[in-house]
């Protein structure tokens, strides 16, 4: 399965040659879930992250679909 990933914050720095306009294509096994994508991006459960598609945030167990454009962010803390 192929998904398109757009990275934010300091995440682009981890992928030399990353194109902020287009994002990057990530090839995953069929029926991959959000946690598989994060693992592929080198983002551990401890580090955490936010994954959104079409204005909807996804939890780690959510299934991905072919061709989805995913936004990936750092975990956030605020106040």
């Amino acid at each position: 399965m192929n998904v398109q990933v757009k990275l934010f914050g300091l995440l682009p720095r981890r992928f030399p040659g990353y194109d902020p306009e287009k994002g990057m294509k990530v090839d995953l096994p069929p029926e991959a879930r959000v946690k598989d994508l994060l693992a592929r991006l080198g983002i551990s459960k401890e580090e955490g992250g936010i994954v959104a598609v079409d204005g909807l945030v996804l939890k780690a167990e959510a299934e991905l679909r072919e061709g989805a454009v995913l936004h990936v962010f750092h975990p956030i803390v605020g106040g």
Partner: protein, 576 residues
């Protein structure tokens, strides 16, 4: 350990030992418990019976990093309830180094009289007549005060909005560069200061008589552990210095939770133009500053200095909530306009959030079109001039809604929401509605848990579990706001066990006791109890713990959900 009581009716200043009832309290813990004890709940917030209390945190003035939050409390002219608004800058550390636990401003100077309260390096305080400063905006004001009294003073001050006693008036706080760009913005505390006849409070940064620590050696060791954890944590150590709070623009839009066009849309088209990434890129290209230090003893450096295309200073620091209120709510995704509005709010002495939302409500009501940058700036200038319309804008979104007979006013207890729509993150509905402060994101920020991929089962669009999460966050935050620590240092406390233990050691070593996590929770509960007790006596019962009606009736795109947390659920939040 002393209180400075400044009576503006009598023009007297009295130093007194901190009464037993307030020992061991600081920051919000002190301001809220004090107000509940000493301010008549039904008093006129702008009358002589109200009291304005400025309290550094328990740990302010010590060697610990990031402890320069000043809590300012009073009965709020905006909400009609108790208020604590805290700000960074330099004053909290300066007061702590003088061993001053709180400054309490009481009474009221005769109408038209204006004063400056000056505290020197020995902690000696004087009230100085300041008629010449009347009407002065804050940047010119602090420049004058620094010229007259020296640059090594931390300053709290009000602008024209505070002098007009408007309900969105802020108290501005000087940063380490001496600029009045940090704000205790919420709840109209600038109006309370203005009603007293106090234009500014100067505190020498040269003090060297902090309260003794019960166990200096344990304190020193724990302070080192704490600082290392804050530096090591990726959020406080890397992300915040690189992007600052504006790093939230992306994820909150991606979650459909960025209230835009007066909270009629959850995604701002063109948000990429005002994102943290874009802000950092713009600042770098123009020669401004990111990773800038705003507050005394800060090692996080989340601040920035925004400059124009010629590299000239516009404002510091452009923050997420301001970007949202003045750019998202108004439909103006333009960093240059937002920066100008941020500067004007600081200079006039206005809460950027309440004011940005007030402008958005005026636009939504048809007074001016959304996206009209010139109109937005003109509305701010009207506030400074004190025109009839300016006073309506400066009194906040509810005043604007009443004037234009417009129903969509995004508030709780008359205070504007922040940059997380309660329909797209239902946990924020609970915090906004139930916080004794009115809609206040800092009172119990539950955004992270809702959006995190590994955030368990909490669904931002569902009410399930949100009351529990908000309750825990509000209690923990109330206790944390008593310490004087910046909330961005809290990340390390939550995520790194050694930092959490170090914080307990620091509090114990300061107070000479052995505190447990349960003691800290008990402090949070005690603070919220006091705040709710005051509010009840002031007439704000459970029925006040609700959001504006439209949030329950008008679904927010793209998720098309209203607020789903029932009134009964809201009332369960503080079932103690």
């Amino acid at each position: 350990m002393k209180f400075l009581r400044v009576n503006m009716t009598e023009k007297s200043i009295k130093a007194e030992d901190v009464p037993q009832a307030y020992r061991g309290l600081g920051g919000r813990g002190l301001t809220s418990i004090f107000i509940n004890a000493e301010v008549p709940p039904t008093c006129d917030p702008l009358g002589p019976e109200n009291k304005l209390i400025c309290a550094p945190g328990l740990l302010s003035g010590t060697t610990l990093i990031n402890t320069s939050r000043i809590s300012i409390g009073a009965k709020s002219p905006l909400t009609g309830g108790i208020k604590e608004s805290n700000a960074g800058g330099t004053v909290a550390a300066a007061l702590g180094r003088l061993g001053i636990t709180a400054i309490i401003v009481e009474g009221k100077a005769p109408q038209g009289e204006l004063y400056v309260l000056k505290i020197d390096e020995n902690g000696e305080a004087v009230l100085l007549p300041a008629q010449g400063l009347k009407g002065m905006r804050t940047y010119a004001l602090v420049e004058t005060l620094q010229k007259d009294y020296g640059e090594k003073n931390g300053i709290l001050c009000i602008g024209p909005a505070g002098e007009y006693q408007l309900a969105s008036a802020s108290i501005q706080s000087t940063d380490v560069d001496g600029r009045p760009c940090r704000a205790a913005g919420r709840g109209g505390l600038g109006a309370v200061m203005g009603s007293k006849g106090l234009k500014a409070l100067l505190v020498s940064q040269g003090g060297n008589r902090p309260d003794a620590l019960a166990d200096p050696e344990a304190y020193k060791q724990a302070a080192m552990v704490f600082a290392k954890a804050v530096k090591d944590h990726p959020f406080s150590g890397q992300l915040m210095p690189a992007l600052g709070t504006s790093m939230l623009v992306g994820p909150i839009n991606a979650a459909g939770a960025f209230p835009s066009f007066n909270a009629t849309q959850g995604v701002l088209e063109g948000w990429e133009k005002i994102s943290g990434e874009k802000l950092a890129e713009t600042i770098k290209a123009r020669g401004g500053k990111s990773g800038h230090m705003g507050c005394s003893q800060c090692i996080i450096h989340c601040s920035n200095e925004f400059v124009d295309t010629r590299g000239k200073y516009v404002t510091a620091s452009l923050e997420y909530e301001t970007i949202w209120a003045t750019g998202g709510m108004t439909g103006i995704p333009d960093l240059d306009v937002i920066a100008r509005m941020d500067f004007l709010c600081d200079d006039i002495g206005l809460d950027t959030m309440n004011t940005g939302v007030a402008i958005a409500v005026a636009m939504d009501a048809g007074y001016k079109p959304f996206g009209d940058a010139q109109a937005a700036i003109e509305m701010l200038e009207e506030v400074a001039k004190g025109t009839e319309l300016g006073k309506i804008i400066g009194n906040g979104p509810v005043a604007v809604g009443k004037h234009f007979k417009h129903h969509r006013v995004p508030v709780a207890k008359n205070q504007s929401i922040a940059a997380y729509d309660p329909r797209a993150i239902q946990g924020m509905a609970v915090t906004y509605a139930t916080s004794p402060m009115g809609a206040d994101h800092t009172a119990g920020w539950v955004v992270g848990q809702n959006l995190a991929a590994f955030g368990g089962k909490l669904d931002p669009l569902s009410p399930t579990g949100q009351v529990e999460v908000s309750r825990a966050a509000q209690i923990a935050t109330a206790a944390f706001d008593a310490t004087g620590l910046c909330q961005f240092a809290a990340t390390a406390v939550n995520d790194i066990p050694d930092a959490g233990k170090a914080l307990l050691t620091l509090l114990s070593a300061k107070l000479g006791s052995t505190l447990t996590p349960e003691d800290v929770t008990a402090l949070g509960v005690r603070i919220i109890r006091a705040e709710r007790e005051f509010n009840r006596k002031a007439g704000l019962t459970n029925e006040a713990d609700r959001l504006a009606k439209f949030f329950y009736e008008e679904p927010l795109p793209p998720h098309n959900k209203p607020v789903l947390v029932s009134d009964q659920e809201m009332d369960r939040t503080f079932d103690f």
